[in-house]
């Protein structure tokens, strides 16, 4: 009997509690989907946000707000006071930083704030924008129905791009505080009222130092992919034979082995690629085994050269976005010193070994 009385108490309590609901429901929240940060001065930044507007007959489905602030939270409050709804970060999907801001340590602070905020999911994407980040949000995209959806889809649900350097907050924090890796973030640009992926921004000591081109990004992508199926594509121009190749890699397996010698580090990068030859322009007969083998060799050589070039560039810039020395850490006793990576990178010698396997060249036999 007493049990039942407890049941009744519970339900009556639940009933009684109905009166004290103070929570703002969804439609009264201004759910920020994209936030952009621009550099103003050492203390201040300009915060621009867009939020989808819920009213059906609104002229513009997206509202844009922009404030200058020292702190993100303070900015939110200011935006709320400007807007008709309470600004909330629960649906934040993309964070954009201007190049200028990325070069200071403000970006790092904002990222850490967002990581710390339980309302923001750690799967929010991060990107660096050429020139002004706020402009990316303020400008109109005549071809796109809804700016928020466009931005969200642009950074989110994509696989079939030339390279895939999209980083979310978790990845970025992981890299920023990892003494072995220098983080990279996708670098976009507003071109002909569309967003364009232009390359990747490389960070060192929590500040952006340089931009890798798209070619470099491809090489990096190949190095980073370990035993994962990727629909990554590659264009190789072999100058001599005037051949154009477009490959779809089905499987990329990169293995970095080292000699574990801190004094004179040597790294051996072996890469096993297998993929489809989806487009080919050239004189070779792809029905012929030996010709295909020849083609494989040529491509291997090209990829090897690319890799070496990329690694050399890394050495010159003294950045390591790959985490080349992970195998050193695995044998290292004690805490990894923060400057050891740079030392190793400067001294390191690389050997690149690429194995390519063309599984198929499409359904039609080409001459």
């Amino acid at each position: 009997m007493k049990k039942n009385i407890i049941c009744i108490i519970i339900s009556s309590l639940l009933l009684g509690g109905c009166t004290e609901i103070v929570q703002t429901p969804l439609e009264d929240l201004g759910l920020i989907s994209v936030a952009a940060f621009d550099y103003v001065d050492e203390k201040k930044m300009k915060m621009t946000v867009i939020m989808p507007q819920s009213a059906e007959d609104a002229k513009n489905p997206t509202q844009v707000y922009s404030v200058e602030t020292e702190l993100v939270q303070k900015g939110l409050v200011e935006i709320s006071s400007k807007s008709d709804s309470t600004a909330a970060l629960n649906q934040l999907r993309v964070v954009l930083f201007s190049e200028e801001m990325a070069k200071t340590d403000q970006m790092h602070k904002v990222i850490e704030y967002l990581y710390n905020n339980p309302k923001v999911t750690t799967r929010t994407f991060v990107a660096v924008v050429k020139d002004s980040a706020g402009k990316l949000l303020e400008s109109e995209y005549p071809d796109k129905a809804n700016k928020s959806i466009y931005m969200n889809n642009f950074f989110n649900k994509r696989q079939n791009v030339l390279f895939n350097p999209f980083k979310n907050i978790h990845d970025l924090i992981y890299d920023l505080h990892n003494p072995l890796v220098d983080p990279v973030v996708v670098y976009v640009e507003l071109k002909e009222s569309l967003i364009n992926i232009d390359g990747i921004a490389v960070f060192k000591d929590k500040k952006m130092v340089d931009i890798f081109t798209r070619e470099d990004a491809k090489s990096l992508q190949l190095l980073l992919e370990t035993n994962k199926i990727s629909s990554l594509s590659f264009v190789i121009d072999l100058d001599l034979a005037e051949e154009k190749i477009f490959m779809n890699f089905l499987r990329v397996k990169t293995k970095i082995t080292s000699n574990h010698d801190i004094e004179s580090p040597k790294l051996n990068i072996s890469m096993k690629l297998s993929g489809q030859l989806s487009e080919y322009e050239g004189k070779k007969d792809l029905g012929n085994k030996s010709e295909v083998a020849k083609l494989e060799k040529e491509i291997e050589k090209a990829v090897e050269d690319d890799m070496k070039e990329f690694l050399q560039k890394c050495q010159e810039l003294s950045v390591d976005p790959i985490g080349l020395f992970e195998s050193f850490r695995m044998r290292y006793k004690g805490d990894w010193p923060s400057d050891l990576k740079d030392e190793l990178l400067a001294k390191a010698e690389f050997e690149v070994d690429v194995k390519l396997d063309i599984t198929t060249s499409g359904a039609i036999t080409k001459k």
């Binding site: 924090i173 992981y174 195998s327």
Partner: protein, 361 residues
């Protein structure tokens, strides 16, 4: 009908009682408290398992000597009425403290993530009422709830998959990358997450097949270790050392890594489902405290349960400063050590008394 019989717990009840009471407390911030040893923490749960299993020996040995008596009765029997009762009161306080700490921790987590800017008083009340409702049905009701919790909350382990996929397996090496002081720090902070199996001594007389308890309790402990171990491995793979050190609830971030098309934030669901683990843990401790009061006062009454619940509710609602709470939480480990090692002491008393008796004879 269960209340009339004294021996109510079957083998599988014991397994899940041991397992669920442990898991509710420690798992949330396990990887954070183990962070002094950095990446090497992933094999620590195994160590904990071995130690817990070893400390299980004296408990069960002693309990088997006094098959129909629980820890409170044994205390009185071996130490005399006054000392025994004094120790029992300490044990009751211990149970209540853990009860309150676990609830407090969970509620503060709720306040951070799920229900920000909301006072705890109201949902604390409902958690309390539910706990009383579970305890009301006796130890078997708790055990049944534990079994349900295992299967219900156990499905959350699947969400580790995404962390595992994105993680980097090379983090598992090197194995012993820590100094002795770091080891001690991590061990001390981490072993708290094994709190819960000492309750075995209290519900031992309710077990039907007492001879098999060691096997069953060990199985329970190793199920816990399996969960701890898998969470540790995935955390080590998924996080950098800095993150392990600075994230207070790494599990939350692991949940956030989950990508399901219809749910954007798995962590909210994970944390709310966690209330089942919390309920199973706290109800066991409340039951222990109630048993203690029954034993000290020498009579069984349902009002003890209500009084304890109301007492705890009041204490939890009092504006106690964060510093005091923290101190209590940090020092509860020592009490836990004490309780775990207490059977050893009792065993020696048991021997002494036996010898004395023989001498007298």
């Amino acid at each position: 009908m269960d209340a009339t019989k004294k021996k109510v717990l079957n083998g599988y009840h014991v397994v899940f009682l041991v397992q669920n009471v442990i898991i509710g407390t420690g798992l949330l911030s396990l990887n954070h408290v183990l962070s002094p040893v950095g990446y090497s923490q992933w094999w620590f749960p195994l160590l904990f398992g071995v130690i817990a299993n070893i400390t299980l020996f004296p408990m069960i040995w002693l309990a088997l000597k006094y098959k129909d008596e629980d820890l409170f009765d044994i205390n009185v029997k071996l130490l005399g009425k006054w000392i025994g009762k004094f120790i029992n009161i300490i044990l009751i306080v211990y149970a209540l403290l853990i009860f309150m700490i676990v609830i407090q921790n969970y509620l503060s987590l709720i306040q951070i993530t799920v229900l920000p800017n909301r006072a705890i008083t109201f949902h604390l009340l409902i958690i309390m009422v539910l706990t009383v409702y579970i305890v009301y049905g006796g130890i078997k009701s708790i055990a049944r709830f534990c079994i349900f919790t295992f299967f219900f909350a156990g499905t959350l382990t699947y969400s580790l998959r995404w962390g595992l996929m994105e993680g980097n397996i090379s983090h598992l090496l090197p194995l012993f990358n820590f100094s002795f002081s770091e080891f001690m720090e991590a061990f001390h902070a981490g072993y708290v997450s094994m709190i819960g199996y000492e309750l075995l001594m209290v519900y031992f007389p309710y077990i039907i097949h007492q001879k098999k308890v060691f096997k069953q309790a060990s199985l329970g402990i190793w199920i816990v270790i399996f969960f701890y171990f898998s969470v540790s491995i995935v955390s080590v793979m998924y996080f950098s050392e800095w993150q392990l050190e600075h994230l207070f609830y790494p599990i939350l971030q692991l949940f956030q890594a989950v990508k399901i098309s219809i749910i954007e934030r798995m962590d909210v669901i994970g944390i709310t489902v966690w209330v089942f683990l919390i309920l199973s843990t706290v109800s066991a401790y409340l039951w222990m405290a109630k048993r203690g009061i029954d034993s000290v006062r020498g009579k069984t009454s349902k009002y003890h349960l209500y009084a304890l619940a109301i007492f705890c509710y009041i204490i939890l609602s009092l504006p106690i400063s964060q510093a005091v709470k923290k101190t209590v939480f940090e020092n509860i480990t020592y009490a836990f050590y004490g309780v775990v090692l207490w059977p050893l002491f009792l065993c020696s008393i048991h021997f002494l008394r036996k010898e004395k008796k023989e001498v007298v004879k």
